[in-house]
Amino acid sequence: MSSENNSGTESPTEPTGTEPTQCNLGDSVLASFGRLHPTSVVFDIASHIRSALVPAAIAIYGVAQGDNRVLIFGALMLVYIIGMAAVRFLSFRFRIQDHELVVRQGIFFKRIRTVPVHRIQNINSVQNLLHRLFNVAEVRVETASGTEPEAVLRVLSMTKVQALRDAIADSQAPSFRTEPIESTDVTDSPPSISTETELLQIPTSWLVRAGLANNRGMILLGIVFWGIYQFNLEERVYWVVFDWEKITEFVKQLASGYAVVLYVVAGVLFASLLLRLLSIVWFILRFHGYRLTRSGDDLGISCGLITKVNTSVPRGRIQFISIQQNLWLKWMGFSSIRIETAGGSTQEEEDAASSVASRWFIPVIADADIAQIVGHLREGLTWQPNDLDWQPVSPKTSTRLTRKGIAISAVISIIGLAVSQPWGFLVGFGALVPLVFVAVRTSRAMRYARTDNGIVYRSGIITKKTSMTFFDRIQTLTIGQSPFDRRWKMTRLSVDTAAAGPAQHTIQIPYLSEDFAENEYRAILGKASAQ
């Protein structure tokens, strides 16, 4: 959609002056072309230095070999990077004019990018420790188009960040918006842009629970290992931690029968406890001081202990809402909410800010508060999951999945028999019970409901995921049958939206009864094409 509008290079370079400025930007910092913050040069170099790591390593190696030519090459490289950063800083200009964000950059190859403000999906700002030292932030402006942010402003002073947000919020005034959904309900609640209401604050105690429930500790462990390898510390670390002589000696001392088992169990327990502790640390680092606010139609999130993330999501852009709860969270009475907007970053390349804006929209929330928050995510949306008309999948599903489980265990038995002659098939028998259990529970967990706004799908036994999308978000609708489906008279109903996919739950409902699926297909289609 945005390809028609926002990547033009022939856009107005100079203000025409004839058109009256609709937004009140007379005294704003952004009425005229603005520059980035002077420290931009430093951060630009920092962001490009990573690509120079390999040549730098070669240079160091060369110097160690006594080859000074390499050193000269490295120095030239550094000068080039610094020079490019300076050029980028000097040539970079941006402003907001006539509801468009205009970004100008380049000296030889001038590039002017205009992003219509109403196309902007998210404005993210990230502040790491160094950014905070200079009171600046890296800002990304995202539209629905594809994978990379429309404009990266690296870096802006915090006053300018706020000014940019305000200017964009002003430009996105409801009179200018042409969203069909919002125009209906404007009368009973006139949206006021300036008032910011706080929807949610996450206390540290919730983050501790989220850390316990989610196994994010591996990530921190991964970062530690990465650091060890990055700085070639692995040998030293192994020396300290894995002194094999000491370890074997230690094991020999206690290698008397069951004691070993005990120690192994204790070790595993300790390791998992440590991982959970790391997971808590990860959650606190990432989401400390989490605040979700709403001003008019914009949702804002700010969080982070060391790297501060500040992101805004226009709620008219939300494609998909997913409420997820694993067994641990269920036990504690908490859930997490993920959302998807169109475009932005893809899963592979998500930065801290867009990750917070979608994947970790609300990392942890008490079950009692969900209804109230979800009500804010979309005009006219209410969330009463118990009042929904939940429809099960075909009653034959558990039979079908059980047969599949039996077939899998038979295959395992045959493989087991091939590996170990007399009793190998027992492995398959052992697998039978859990496989059938999972089959029955999976088929029972799947639920579908159609509401006034859209459709809701719930699935999962260990992690229960309840996801909803809306009729006006449905891009295509498909029903399909595999040969197996035909035999069981089942149909798969799938919905495609513009959501980029970080919520890790798609609305693809398998095993629906044939007739039911066809009726729903027609009903959804009627609603989707009406909007």
């Binding site: 035909r486 495609d496 513009a498 009627g526 094409s529």
Partner: protein, 184 residues
């Protein structure tokens, strides 16, 4: 799925923009069967030729062990025969199950012999649509219609084997009927 049920229009089309157009599912242009047979044969024979060349090379490498290139040749011959049979017999069956319909709700495409599906694109969600023609398609006066949506998995949906003028007509209808404004 129940084929008869699908023929009904999803919503009553009293003030439908496509009253004149048939709301029954339509088949593709019959010429598309011949096109598919020809392109299937071309790829089957291409693979056959490649296998022949491969077996000659193998024969030169394994000098004195005649059974290895013979085995390769025999397998290749069998595979090529299967592919030729498939190229002759598949397109008519595919044609029988490949249908489309344009009505007030949108464009619907039904397809699949073994794995069957029916996809529907509401007209309001059509971003743009284009018609393309390959060299063989030009010869048969056929065209491929590609419809783009803002979706992710089905960001573009194609119908191949339409008569070229039908494809163009369909494209113009789709683009003219879609609502302007934001789709995301």
């Amino acid at each position: 799925m129940d084929t008869d049920n699908c023929q009904e229009s999803p919503t009553p089309t009293s003030n439908a923009p496509f009253n004149n157009s048939p709301s029954e599912f339509q088949s593709l242009d019959p010429r598309s069967v011949r096109l598919d047979v020809i392109s299937g044969l071309i790829s089957a024979l291409g693979l056959g030729a490649m296998i022949l060349v491969a077996s000659i090379i193998v024969a030169l490498v394994f000098d004195g062990m005649a059974w290895i290139p013979l085995l390769v040749l025999a397998t290749g011959f069998l595979l090529t025969t299967l592919l030729v049979v498939h190229a002759l017999r598949w397109p008519p069956r595919d044609y029988d199950r490949y249908q489309w319909r344009l009505d007030a709700v949108g464009l619907q495409i039904r397809r699949g012999v073994i794995w069957r599906h029916q996809i529907s694109i509401p007209i309001a969600r059509v971003q743009h649509a284009d018609v393309s023609q390959g060299p063989l398609e030009r010869k048969f006066e056929l065209g491929t219609l590609t419809i783009h949506t803002a979706g992710t998995e089905n960001a573009s949906v194609t119908i191949d084997g339409l008569a070229h003028e039908t494809a163009i007509e369909l494209r113009d209808k789709l683009v003219a009927q879609r609502k302007s404004g934001h789709v995301v």
